[in-house]
């Protein structure tokens, strides 16, 4: 073999080895790669900035009554924040209905601070410098339930009813695409392009999905709440936009939250 041929042969071996190395490194699933990304961000989740702002907003005196939200009952009694997210949605006797965190915060802004419902719901999804108070409050309150198991009750008849309505909404097919939530979220191992879709009728997937919302959405640079997640699913189904903090969304959240019972809460998380 002359030297040129030998060099070429060596090169071939080298490139074959490099090829094998690339193959071996390939991820078995996108979800695993996203998982690595989440782990890398770990304790440096930008949602912390929202949490800090939310805690300040909770304690800040605001509205015509000049009161803070510190006496707000979000599920475990006035002023109790720790663990509250794990029992929501829940029936509240003072309003006579089942409420999730966001609709409950609207109630507290009205009753404690004297802010009108319209103003309380204004700017509920922030965008850049137009920031949302609600997203910050939810981020902080939710973060105070980290590490606690989901424990949503259906003991009250209204809670049971909300769950049943939510369940019907989940399976209700309509719209130009004859779509339901269940079209994407009632079978195992489905995905849209590279995004895996949780099967929300299966407790394991439901727990994993529910306990990681709200989340910091990297693609939007914002913390998004459960209400936003539902809105986005409705948009993808080509349904009309549901009312913010409406009974309908609360019912659907009730269905999802109860299915996630027992799952350990761990949000705000980092999302795509």
């Amino acid at each position: 073999m002359n030297p040129i041929h030998r060099a070429a042969a060596v090169l071939c071996v080298a490139s074959a080895m490099a090829g094998a190395a690339v193959l071996a490194q390939q991820p078995s699933s996108t979800e695993q790669e996203i998982e690595k990304y989440r782990a890398a961000l770990g304790e440096d989740n930008p949602a912390e900035l929202w949490e800090a702002r939310g805690e300040a907003l909770w304690k800040e005196k605001a509205g015509p009554k000049g009161a803070s939200l510190e006496r707000c009952d979000i599920g475990l009694g006035p002023g109790v924040v720790k663990g509250a997210y794990t029992v929501l949605p829940k029936y509240f006797a003072d309003t006579g209905k089942v409420q999730d965190l966001e609709s409950r915060l609207v109630t507290c802004m009205e009753t404690l601070q004297g802010i009108s419902e319209a103003d309380a719901k204004k700017n509920h999804f922030g965008s850049g410098p137009k920031r949302s108070k609600m997203e910050a409050l939810v981020a902080w309150i939710a973060s105070e339930s980290r590490g606690m198991p989901m424990n949503v009750s259906l003991a009250h008849p209204e809670e049971k009813e909300a769950y049943e309505i939510g369940k019907r909404m989940f399976f209700y097919r309509a719209g130009p695409h004859d779509f339901a939530c269940a079209t994407c979220h009632s079978r195992d191992n489905l995905r849209i392009r590279l995004q895996e879709l949780p099967n929300l009728t299966n407790p394991k997937d439901a727990q994993r999905a529910y306990t990681t919302w709200p989340g910091y959405r990297v693609s939007q640079g914002e913390v998004r709440t459960m209400q936003h997640r539902i809105n986005d699913c409705y948009r993808q189904q080509r349904f009309p936009e549901p009312g913010y903090a409406s009974d309908a969304v609360t019912a659907l959240v009730m269905y999802l939250a109860h299915n996630a019972n027992g799952g350990v809460y761990n949000a705000p998380a980092v999302k795509r």
């Binding site: 304790e43 440096d44 930008p46 912390e48 900035l49 800090a52 702002r53 850049g128 410098p129 640079g221």
Partner: protein
């Protein structure tokens, strides 16, 4: 006034590891809004870190740094109890300074 930063400073071996999360829009000046108007550039330009008053890091940033930037760095010569101060100035002249104690 901008939102506070989140700063963690802890010993990592004989060095101090500092992790900072800053709240800033970091607008590049390249994007347009829905009506087609350019969104003006707005980003952090200078970042400095001091330990007990002595500068340990000084950086010039541009619009290539992402929104809500995260900065992590190590320096030597610090010890637990020392005060680390991080400050930034953006291209609007807006500034923010926060501190943490090394643990």
């Amino acid at each position: 006034m901008a939102d506070p930063m989140k700063i963690r400073a802890a010993m990592a071996g004989d060095k101090v590891e500092v992790k900072v999360l800053m709240a800033h829009e970091m607008e590049t000046g390249q994007r347009k809004d829905a009506s087609g108007k350019v969104i003006p550039a707005w980003f952090i330009q200078n970042v400095t870190a001091t330990c007990n008053g002595k500068t340990v890091l000084s950086a010039e940033w541009g619009p290539a740094v992402a929104k809500n930037p995260f900065l992590s760095f190590r320096f030597s010569g610090g010890k637990p109890g020392d005060k680390v101060v991080i400050s930034w100035v953006d291209n609007h002249g807006d500034k923010r300074s926060d501190e943490a104690v090394i643990s």
